[in-house]
C-alpha cells in the first residue's frame, strides 16, 4: 500500500476523508430525502384512517410539505 493510499484509508477509518462541502451536502440531502419519502408513505396511510377533520387537515398540510421537500431535495441532488 502506497503512503497516500494508507493516509486515505486512515482518513476513511476515522471519518476524516476530505470530501468537498458540496458532495457532503448532497449525501446528507439524499439520505434525508429517503427518510422523507418513507415518512410520506406513513402519513398517507395515517390520513386514510383518520376521521377527525382537524387532524386530517394537519396531516394534509404535512404531506404537502413533504412533497415540496422531496422535490427540493431531488433538485439539489440532481444539480
Amino acid at each position: 500500500m502506497s503512503g497516500l493510499k494508507f493516509i486515505q484509508k486512515m482518513q476513511e477509518l476515522f471519518g476524516l476523508s476530505p470530501e468537498s462541502a458540496e458532495s457532503t451536502k448532497k449525501k446528507a440531502v439524499k439520505e434525508l430525502v429517503k427518510k422523507l419519502k418513507l415518512r410520506h408513505i406513513l402519513l398517507k396511510q395515517e390520513l386514510k384512517n383518520e376521521t377527525d377533520l382537524i387532524k386530517r387537515e394537519a396531516l394534509h398540510d404535512s404531506i404537502q410539505i413533504i412533497k415540496k421537500q422531496v422535490k427540493k431535495g431531488k433538485e439539489i441532488v440532481d444539480d
Binding site: F14, G15, L16, A21, T24, K25, K27, A28, V29, E31, L32, V33, K35, L36, L38, R39, E57, D61, S62, Q64, I65, I66, K68, Q69, K72, G73, I76
Partner: protein, 607 residues
C-alpha cells in the same frame, strides 16, 4: 501576598545564581524546557480547530478508546497537561462523559511515559542540542508564515527545539555541578527518604506545572549521579502526584463536570503513588529482574527509571480502568447539581472559561446555554398565556387545557426577567462575542446564528410581556367574542410551543425537518386567519374599537413570538450537529416556499 512571594523567590534565585553558576545553568535549562513545552502546546492548538475535535468525538465513545486516545495524544504532544485541558473542556461542554474524560487522563498517564524513554534513551545519550538549533531556525521560519497549519508546525518545531536546548543546559549544569558538590551526600535511605523525596518531587512538579520538566530534571540529575536511584524513584512518584495540579488549575474555571475530572485525576495518581510508595524496594527488585528483557544494562539507571515510570503508570491504569464507573458514581455523589429554587436568581449552567479553549466546545456550550435560556423563556411565556410549562409538555388536548385554565394567571414578568433571564442572556451574548473574537472566521460563522437565536428568544419574551396586559384583561372580559379571540391566540401559541418541544425531543431528522417547515406554515396560516377574523368582528360590531386595536397589536405580538421561536428551533436543530448542517438547512422550506403552500391551500375557519 502573591507579589511578595514572587519578590522573595526572585531575590533568592538571584542570590543563588550569583553564588553558583551551575545552578543558573540548570534553572535556565528548566526555564527553556518549559518555554519549549508551552510552544509545543501552542503549536498543537493550531490543529485543534478541526482535526482534533473530530478525532476526539469519534474515538472516545468507549472507555478503552478514550484511554488509547489519551495515550496517542500525550505521546504526540508530550504534554499530559494539554490532554487534561482538552478532556476538561470537552466534558464541560457536554461533548464527552466524565468516564470518557477519565479514560483520556489514564491514557495520558501512559503517554507521558514515552517522554521518559525518549529523554533517558536519546536525550541523555546523544548531544541533542545539535538538533535543537536547526529546529529553532526552521520553527521560526514557519511561525512567520500566514498559513495556520505552517504556523502550528513552526510552534511545534520551535517547542521541540527549545525543549532539547533546555535538556542540554540541565545536563551541562549537572555535569559541572558534579565537579564541585556531590548532592548524593543529602540522599536519604529507607521509607523516610522515599517519603521525603516523593514530597520534593510533588512540590517540584506543582511549581513547574509539568511532570515532563520534573522527569527531565530527575533523569539528568540521575545520569550525573547527583541523586540515588532509589531517591529518583521516589521523586518520580511525587512528580506523578504533582502533575495533577494542571488539571486542578484547569478545572477552577470549569463547572462541576470539569471539577469531577480534576478530582478523579488527583485521586487516581495520589492513590497509585501512596500504594507504590510502600513497594519501592520490591519494585526495584522487580525492575532488576525485568530490565534485561528490554536490553537495559545493569548500570543504566536512567533507562531503569524510565521502566519504573512505565510500570507505575501501567499499574495505575490496570488498577483504575475497571473501577472508572464506580469512581464516576462516587464523584456524582460528592458533586451533586445545585437545584435553583423557583424564586432564586438563575445563572448559566454550561458557560465557563474552559469552554472557550476549543471552537467545538465553545459552540456546544453556546447551544446548550441557549436551550437553557429558551426553557426559562418558555416557562414565562406559558405563564403569560395563563397556563404552565407542564401543561404544554403534557399530552393533554389543548381545548382541555384552556378549559382547565380559564382564569387569568397574574404573574410579574419583569421580576421573572430579572431573576431568570437577564443574567443568562448577558452571559451568553458576552460568551458568543468573546468566542467570535477568539476563533477563525470559518468557526465564527457558527456562532452568529446561535447568538441571533438568543436575541430572538428575548424578543419573543418581550412580545409576550407586551401581550400579557390585554391577555389578563380580556380573558376575564364579559365580551365572549374578544375572549374567544384571546383563547385562540393561547391555543395557537400552545400548539406552536408543543411542536418546538417535539422538534427538540425527536431523534428522527426527517420529523424535525417536517415540523420546522410546519411551524412556519402554521404561523402564516394563523396570521391570515386572525386578520380575517378581526375584519369580520369589526365589520359586525362584535368588539369595540379599543378591543380591535388591542387584538390587532396582540395578534402581531403572537406572530412575533411564534416566528422568533421558530427561528430559534431552526437554529438549535440545524447547528446541533456539525456533520449534516447544510443538508438539514437545505430541506427546511423557506418563507417563499411556505407562502406557495399557504396560497395553494383553502381558507379555513378561525375558531
Amino acid at each position: 501576598m502573591k507579589r511578595l512571594s514572587l519578590f522573595i523567590v526572585i531575590i533568592a534565585l538571584s542570590f543563588t545564581f550569583v553564588y553558583n553558576q551551575n545552578l543558573l545553568s540548570i534553572a535556565a535549562g528548566v526555564a527553556i524546557f518549559l518555554f519549549g513545552m508551552k510552544n509545543l502546546e501552542e503549536g498543537f492548538r493550531f490543529f485543534v480547530g478541526g482535526l482534533l475535535d473530530k478525532f476526539l468525538k469519534k474515538i472516545t465513545d468507549s472507555l478503552y478508546k478514550s484511554i488509547l486516545f489519551g495515550t496517542v495524544i500525550t505521546t504526540l504532544m508530550q504534554s499530559s497537561g494539554l490532554a487534561a485541558v482538552i478532556a476538561i473542556s470537552f466534558i464541560s461542554a457536554g461533548l464527552i462523559s466524565v468516564a470518557q474524560g477519565i479514560g483520556i487522563i489514564l491514557g495520558g498517564n501512559i503517554g507521558t511515559t514515552t517522554g521518559a524513554w525518549l529523554i533517558a534513551g536519546l536525550g541523555l545519550k546523544i548531544s541533542i542540542a545539535t538538533y535543537a538549533l536547526p529546529m529553532l531556525v526552521f520553527g521560526m521560519l514557519f511561525i512567520f508564515q500566514e498559513s495556520k497549519r505552517l504556523k502550528g508546525i513552526g510552534y511545534a518545531l520551535a517547542g521541540l527545539g527549545f525543549s532539547f536546548l533546555g535538556i542540554a543546559y540541565m545536563k551541562e549544569g549537572f555535569d559541572a555541578f558534579k565537579a564541585t558538590i556531590d548532592l548524593t551526600q543529602y540522599a536519604a535511605d529507607g521509607y523516610t527518604g522515599i517519603l521525603l523525596f516523593a514530597i520534593i518531587g510533588a512540590v517540584m512538579t506543582i511549581v513547574m506545572q509539568s511532570s515532563h520538566a520534573s522527569l527531565v530534571l530527575i533523569l539528568t540529575a540521575l545520569s550525573a549521579s547527583q541523586i540515588t536511584y532509589e531517591n529518583a524513584i521516589a521523586l518520580t512518584i511525587g512528580a506523578n502526584i504533582g502533575t495533577t495540579i494542571t488539571a486542578i488549575l484547569g478545572a477552577l474555571g470549569a463547572g462541576d463536570e470539569g471539577k469531577k475530572l480534576a478530582t478523579a485525576h488527583f485521586l487516581i495518581n495520589t492513590l497509585t503513588g501512596l500504594i507504590l510508595i510502600g513497594f519501592v524496594p520490591h519494585f526495584i527488585h522487580f525492575i532488576d529482574h525485568t530490565a534485561p528483557f528490554f536490553g537495559i544494562a545493569e548500570q543504566d539507571y536512567t533507562l531503569k527509571l524510565a521502566l519504573y515510570h512505565t510500570y507505575f503508570n501501567l499499574f495505575c491504569v490496570l488498577l483504575f480502568a475497571p473501577l472508572v464507573h464506580h469512581l464516576v458514581s462516587l464523584l456524582n455523589y460528592f458533586f451533586q447539581p445545585k437545584i435553583t429554587a423557583e424564586n432564586a436568581i438563575d445563572d448559566v449552567l454550561y458557560i465557563s472559561d474552559v469552554a472557550l479553549d476549543f471552537p467545538d466546545t465553545a459552540q456546544a456550550t453556546l447551544l446548550k446555554e441557549t436551550k437553557h435560556l429558551y426553557n426559562n423563556v418558555v416557562d414565562i411565556i406559558a405563564q403569560g398565556l395563563s397556563v404552565t410549562k407542564e401543561d404544554i409538555t403534557s399530552g393533554m388536548e389543548i381545548e382541555d387545557i384552556l378549559k382547565r385554565r380559564d382564569q387569568a394567571l397574574h404573574v410579574n414578568m419583569d421580576a421573572y426577567y430579572e431573576r431568570r433571564i437577564k443574567e443568562i442572556y448577558g452571559k451568553i451574548i458576552t460568551f458568543a462575542i468573546v468566542a467570535q473574537g477568539k476563533f477563525s472566521d470559518v468557526t465564527t460563522q457558527q456562532f452568529i446564528p446561535i447568538k441571533n437565536a438568543t436575541i430572538g428568544i428575548v424578543e419573543a419574551f418581550k412580545a409576550a410581556k407586551h401581550m400579557q396586559k390585554n391577555m389578563l384583561r380580556y380573558l376575564e372580559s364579559d365580551n365572549e367574542y374578544i375572549k374567544n379571540e384571546y383563547n385562540h391566540i393561547r391555543k395557537t401559541l400552545i400548539k406552536h410551543l408543543r411542536t418546538i418541544q417535539m422538534i427538540f425531543n425527536t431523534s428522527e431528522e426527517d420529523v424535525a425537518i417536517l415540523l420546522l417547515s410546519k411551524l412556519q406554515l402554521d404561523a402564516q396560516n394563523y396570521d391570515i386567519a386572525a386578520n380575517k377574523s378581526l375584519d369580520n368582528l369589526i365589520r359586525t360590531n362584535k368588539i369595540t374599537y379599543t378591543m380591535a386595536t388591542s387584538l390587532m397589536n396582540d395578534t402581531s405580538y403572537a406572530y412575533t413570538i411564534a416566528s422568533e421561536l421558530s427561528k430559534v428551533a431552526h437554529t438549535l436543530f440545524v447547528h446541533a450537529t456539525s456533520e449534516s448542517t447544510e443538508g438539514r438547512e437545505a430541506l427546511i422550506l423557506n418563507e417563499a416556499e411556505i407562502s406557495d403552500l399557504t396560497h395553494a391551500s383553502s381558507p379555513r375557519s378561525t375558531s
